[in-house]
Amino acid sequence: MVGRRLALALLATSFGGCAHVGPGGHGSVMGGPGAGEAQAPGTAESVMLDDLARALEQLRTPRITTVQLSRGAEPLAEAFVSRLAEAGYGVQRVDADQGAHHVSLERRALESASGSPLVRLELEVGTVTLARSYRVAGEAVQPASALAVGGTRREVGVDDTRFRATTDAELARVEYVGDVDALEQTPLISLITDEVVHGVAREASGAPSHAAVNSGRVEVTNLFHGDSGAFGALRETLELADRAIIVFANDSMRLGSDGKRLVERFAEGFREDSDMIGLIGCSNGKTALDIGNEGLALGRSRRVAEALVVLGIPPEAIIDEGCWAPVGAGDRFPSRGVVIEILRRGS
């Protein structure tokens, strides 16, 4: 009897052990391990990936968003995208870095202030970035930092109840961040209008230059000369929703506490679906600085743009221009300040 049972058990084991489905395994379409993929992540990694995926779902709607993943991506990124597929995202496999929502995910080993090892996941999905550190012990995982959100100001709810009850409640929050260095690396986008050509001659004659490069590495025209600006077509599609002037001290690019408060107010009022933030940095009048009025005007708008990016405003949502001249601009523009505007698409 015992022998028969044992034989049956061994038979079952034998067949079970022999059953195989190849490297592709059996999984759901785009939801499980696929052909040639590495093994699914462990429990701790799954929990961390789920944490980031839940945050992303609040920023990019699953049913209407397709994410791109490069062929040969790391298993961690594959696992994350499988999780997104389960949530209803479209998944597109690309041979390079194509797409508006291209996914990259990095895992970094860190050390806490007390010397304990931490894991930090850094996710990029198009222009949105999410990053968070975790304390991992075996299969148990706890957040070790707030959730850093970049490239967006959308509200993100952080629910840490899936972690252990001992999770620090102080960490269940979002920190909006921005990478201002990335702005510097963008290829220059130059203007090639007739006005700019004329502006070169004007500059040579000692008159204020006609164009210069803004914080986003886009060449813009000097609004002092009275044209419609480099973003005329874009501005035509938008309506003014709010406007204020951030005043700077003479020959200064310091934003100051009042300026910072005003920038924060505009960041709070910014609606990502419909808004852009317009900046016009101004320096009209005499200056003792070597960078001249042009450098001062665009330096001021750059200072405000950086403050907005650090608060999570997407750089693409900022259009900064300038107005500069060694003489006053009358009522049209402030002498030393930045005009900040919320520009809204009509309903």
């Binding site: 190849g22 496999r93 874009l234």
Partner: protein
């Protein structure tokens, strides 16, 4: 008691031998690698049970054949179209999903048949006077692709034109790469090749199978390459500007130069992608982006053409219409040596309708 234990031990011994024998018989065969046919994002390996690798290769070939035409249709460009599909539980369904993935389509799993580009498929068999025939059908939204194939002598060959319904593409605009079937060999046999549109217009050809016998699997055309070549060809056909068309009524507005890390890469990098986003952000109706990627002195450079296609993909991926992007022909301006792998430029010039122009 002792006798019973002894019997049990003997039983265990026999069972161990049996187990060992089963393992030798059952486990000696190496696990079949299904990765060439399963969807990259996971699939149903159970659907392949009882189907030989040769048959799976046939299904993959047929799937590739159908999808290689789908990618050329203006209604479903892979760079910007996301298709909806249910989890496949048939072998053909799995190889078809794999082909759609390889073609670069965005795939979205749905529970029922949601979506404007829901993917449906069908395989049906018929006994005809010409012998047994299998018809394969791929449906994507309103588009229907259909073709008959026959299996003979361990190979699969088309036995009808590929019919396309629900697309404005003319058969003469589509390229059907049926030479992949000829690679299976067949001693000089021939099969019909071509595309027929719903209105009856057709482009018909004949493909001769290589008399030299079948190529080994390793030497056959890579399915991914077949699909990406078809997709790139279609994208370039829609945007390549040769000879350059007039730019009447348009004036240059902006110019930027993207730098690719080397002459072979298709990776744009974050900075170049951001520049494209900024250009797309400030796009007015009727704007045109002219991309110059090739600066070869002899007017030909496939790597540069691929870089240009990559930039076009990026624009299309941001929702820019294909007619708003043009790939300019080579500008004979470079003395770059063939072995030069230093960073290479791609110029983008944005044109805008002149104020007052008709």
């Amino acid at each position: 008691m002792r006798a019973e234990r002894s019997i049990t031990r003997r039983g265990v011994g026999r069972v161990s031998l049996l187990f060992g024998a089963l393992c030798v018989i059952g486990c000696a065969a190496p696990a079949r690698d299904l990765s060439p046919w399963l969807p990259l994002g996971g699939g149903d390996a159970a659907a392949f049970e009882g189907i030989s690798s040769v048959e799976l290769e046939h299904l993959a070939l047929i799937s590739t054949n159908l999808v290689s035409v789908l990618v050329q249709l203006p209604e479903a460009p892979p760079s910007s179209a996301t298709l909806q599909l249910s989890e496949p539980d048939t072998a053909f369904g799995n190889t078809l999903v794999r082909a759609l993935e390889e073609a670069g389509y965005g795939l979205q799993r749905v529970e029922a048949d949601q979506g404007a580009r829901y993917v449906a498929y069908r395989r049906s068999f018929a006994e005809t006077d010409a012998g047994p025939v299998a018809e394969y059908e791929l449906i994507v939204g309103d588009i229907v692709l259909r073709r008959e194939y026959v299996s003979e002598d361990g190979r699969v060959l088309p036995s009808s034109l590929l019919s396309v319904d629900g697309s404005e593409a003319a058969p003469t605009d589509l390229v059907l790469d049926d030479t992949v079937f000829a690679e299976q060999g067949g001693e000089g046999a021939a099969f019909i090749s071509g595309i027929r549109a719903a209105d009856g217009t057709a482009a018909v050809d004949e493909v001769l199978v290589e008399a030299s016998g079948p190529r080994s699997l390793e030497r056959r055309a890579d399915r991914y390459e077949v699909l990406s070549a078809a997709s790139r060809r279609a994208a370039l056909a829609a945007t390549e500007d040769h000879p350059p068309s007039p730019l009447d009524g348009l004036e240059r507005v902006r110019r930027t130069v993207l730098i690719f890390d080397d002459s072979e890469t298709r990776r744009m990098g974050a900075a170049n992608k951001r520049a494209v986003r900024l250009l797309v952000r400030d796009t007015a109706a009727e704007d045109l982006f002219v991309i110059t990627a090739c600066t070869a002195a002899d007017g030909r450079d496939e790597a540069a053409r691929a870089r240009g296609a990559r930039v076009i993909e990026e624009f299309l991926g941001h929702g820019v219409a294909p007619e708003a992007v043009r790939l300019a022909p080579c500008v004979r301006a470079s003395y770059r040596h063939a072995t030069d792998d230093s960073p290479v430029p791609v110029e983008i010039v944005q044109y805008r309708r002149s104020r007052g122009a008709g």
